[in-house]
């Protein structure tokens, strides 16, 4: 999915990309960082410590009539103790809210993030609800049983799961969030809905493509963040410190690839 795709032709590739700030939200250990890594670098690492020093990635997404450059913000782990800074989701034009299909409580947390965004964020924000780790429940469509014990802390179960991960072919893990339940919630709340696996890549590109399609371009072009790359912007007095300090800092390099849109 991450091969460069210039099939959209010169029209699209000549277009100036529209920058879109996209944030990931959700309980710790649901797979937010893994989803970004899958989308941007097409890779997956089990039990990997979050990549230090890189919680801000970019990826271009080409559509027929536009090129969107996602500026993807990962939480840097600040969600673990409920300490995510408001600056994180400020001005976000898109949000991917992730839960873990094997953990019912993570959907509740996802719902509280939807509420928070509806209260605090930009009213035109495009939100995608994403149930991750479907590889773990490949053959099970809905909840079979529920042992009632849902761990508060969020990290333990993921660790346990990972240990048995290697041969999950015959190790079936219980799905705790039925597709229909989450999808119905998404529909009534006006969210895009997907189920994904960062592990095998299933559904990941679609999340970003569908968001790209739904982004209201006119809004972004007329909004503030367009002014970022250009020194003093006469009319509104914004300044770009990087540019003043070192002319070639932003946009100096060509990103590779793009999602297969």
């Amino acid at each position: 999915m991450s091969q460069a795709n210039d099939a959209a032709g010169p029209a699209a590739s000549n277009m100036k990309p529209v920058q879109v700030k996209l944030v990931l939200l959700g309980e710790a250990a649901v797979g937010k960082s893994s989803l970004v890594l899958r989308f941007v670098n097409d890779e997956f690492q089990l039990n990997k410590e979050p990549t230090i020093g890189a919680a801000f990635l970019t990826q271009k997404c080409r559509l027929e009539d536009k090129v969107i450059k996602f500026e993807i913000w990962d939480t840097a782990g600040q969600e673990r103790f409920h300490s995510l800074a408001p600056m994180y989701y400020r001005n976000a034009q898109a949000a991917v809210i992730v839960y873990d299909v094997t953990k019912a409580s993570s959907l509740e947390k996802a719902k509280s993030w939807v509420k928070e965004l509806q209260r605090q964020a930009n009213p035109n924000i495009v939100i995608a609800l994403t149930g991750n780790k479907v590889d773990l429940v490949a053959n099970r469509k809905s909840r079979t049983h529920n042992d009632g014990e849902v761990d508060e802390d969020g990290e333990q179960d993921a660790q346990e799961i990972d240990e048995d991960e290697e041969d999950d072919e015959d190790y079936a893990i219980t799905r705790q969030v039925p597709t229909e339940e989450a999808s119905a919630y998404a529909q009534e709340s006006g969210l895009l809905f997907f189920e994904t696996s960062a592990k095998n890549g299933q559904g990941v590109a679609e999340v970003f493509t569908e968001i790209a399609k739904k982004i209201p371009l006119e809004h972004i072009l007329s909004s503030s963040r367009g002014a970022r790359a250009g020194g003093v912007n006469g009319s509104n007095g914004r300044v770009d410190l990087q540019n003043g300090a070192n002319g070639q800092r932003l946009g100096g390099q060509q990103e590779k690839g793009g999602c297969a849109c």
């Binding site: 941007v40 670098n41 990549t51 230090i52 020093g53 890189a54 919680a55 801000f56 990635l57 970019t58 840097a76 782990g77 600040q78 673990r80 103790f81 409920h82 300490s83 800074a85 408001p86 600056m87 994180y88 400020r90 209260r119 605090q120 503030s224 963040r225 970022r228 003093v232 509104n236 007095g237 914004r238 300044v239 770009d240 410190l241 990087q242 003043g244 300090a245 070192n246 800092r249 932003l250 100096g252 390099q253 990103e255 590779k256």
Partner: protein
């Protein structure tokens, strides 16, 4: 939190967050806590609910004020000098990538009952009512002297070594009038009071140079301001720290700093203990280890329009030099508005502040309040300016200074550097961090 850390940081003010970020980059394991459920400590920007909780015992904000989320009300009145240290720290750590900045539109000074613009261009200077024609010529000579002074070239010294010559003598040498001296010392060098006159001139030369070079950077005024308020700055550095592995806990009560043999070994919260070998905190987390040097009054005023006689600018600094109002310390007014995303549309926020000199601080800022026009609401705070009694080397508890009465972050950066040296034993050398693209490329290559 029952783990071993290298450093536990308490309080998420700007000083603490910068240090937390720098130490995390160096690979230190950092736990960063705050008793509040928001970032920023004394350098936070509050929404209406938080503001009313702090100043009005949690009364509900009047509906007429508008939406909670449209407010980011600074507690301290400070701007960034465009060519100052904070901008350097921001660009070197690349924390600028998380923030957007705007210029402060103008700098003003109160003189003989009128508000005058501090000239930002030669044209403005020539037209400025601040000096008469002959005085302008003398001032021009003075500024040329400052600009051309080279420490290693005695030919530029006119016989005056600025490391030893008091500033007062230099003013006298150029025959400057009292009003001009007030203007240069307070509106350009940003001295809060007049004790500098008797100190060597170098300090004041450096300050004038900083002002002029900051002014030259983007024009209009020497100041920059982050959209959504100053509270974005600590949040940006906290994010930097988190990206390099720092752990963040807000809304975390701290009960005790734990010592063994006079050295810190941990921090206790309830029955959890975070073990560590060093603690960094703001004065409020170690009240028995600090003393108060000054008190500052700050009146946060919500206005419905721009303040009179400032060309309707959306943001400004206004200085009332002490001599103008028969005080020892200047009164400062810092103004920002809805165009900085800090309050509702068409509203303005102005903070009137000064160092307290009497038993009735409210009375001391009247001259400032009187210049604002109608005030919709006012939140007044008198705060202690504290600093640590000891340098922290014995017990390894390093305490920052309170945010002082200056109008910018230069002293905050001095404190950061000083603390960094005491904590690590090394001078702070800012290394350029990789850019986002370079970082991403490195990651992909692995």
């Amino acid at each position: 939190m029952d783990e071993q850390y290298d450093v536990v940081v308490m309080g998420t003010g700007l000083t603490e967050c910068i240090l937390s970020g720098l130490l995390s980059i160096e690979g230190k394991k950092v736990l960063h806590m705050d008793r509040n459920d928001y970032y920023g400590g004394e350098s936070a920007s509050l929404n209406l609910t938080q503001l009313f909780k702090k100043f009005r015992d949690g009364d509900a904000p009047a509906a007429a004020l508008g939406k909670d989320r449209d407010y980011n009300v600074d507690l301290i009145p400070k701007f960034m000098m465009a060519n100052g240290e904070l901008v350097k720290i921001l660009t070197h750590t690349d924390v600028t990538r998380y923030l957007e900045f705007k210029q402060i539109a103008g700098s003003y000074v109160y003189r003989d009952g009128v508000i005058a613009k501090v000239p930002a261009t030669e044209m403005e200077a020539v037209r400025s009512p601040l000096m008469g024609l002959f005085e302008k010529r003398r001032a021009k000579k003075f500024f040329e002297f400052v600009q051309n002074y080279k420490a290693d070239d005695p030919a530029t010294h006119s016989g005056m070594d600025i490391n030893t010559t008091p500033m007062d003598n230099i003013y006298k040498h150029f025959g400057l009038e009292a009003g001009t001296i007030d203007f240069i010392g307070h509106a350009l060098a940003l001295h809060l009071e007049d004790s500098y006159l008797n100190r060597p001139a170098k300090e004041t030369f450096d300050r004038i140079t900083l002002y002029m070079s900051s002014m030259a950077r983007w024009g209009k005024s020497p100041y920059l301001y982050p959209l959504y308020g100053l509270g974005e700055l600590p949040q940006g550095f906290a994010r930097l720290s988190a990206i390099y592995g720092g752990t963040y806990m807000l809304d975390k009560k701290v009960d005790e700093i734990v010592y063994e043999n006079g050295k810190v070994v941990g921090v206790r919260s309830g029955d959890e203990i975070a073990k560590c070998s060093q603690v960094i905190c703001d004065p409020s987390y170690a009240p028995e280890k600090v003393h108060t040097t000054d008190r500052v009054i700050r009146a946060i005023c919500l206005l419905k329009g721009p303040i009179p006689n400032t060309d309707n600018v959306d943001s400004f600094q206004l200085i009332i030099p002490q001599n103008q109002v028969k005080r020892k310390n200047d009164i400062y007014i810092a103004g920002v508005s809805a165009s900085h995303n800090v309050c509702e549309k068409n509203h303005y926020l102005a903070i009137v502040s000064t160092v307290v000199e009497t038993a009735n601080p409210q009375e001391e800022i009247q001259a400032g309040l009187a210049l604002l026009g109608p005030i919709v609401d006012k939140f007044v705070q008198v705060v202690d300016i504290s600093e640590p009694i000891k340098d922290g080397k014995d017990d390894q508890v390093f305490i920052s200074k309170s945010y002082d009465a200056t109008s910018h972050f230069e002293t905050v950066c001095d404190d950061v550097k000083d603390l960094y040296k005491r904590i690590t034993g090394n001078d702070l050398v800012l290394k350029q961090r990789l850019t986002q693209e370079e970082e991403q490329k490195e990651m992909a290559d692995h």
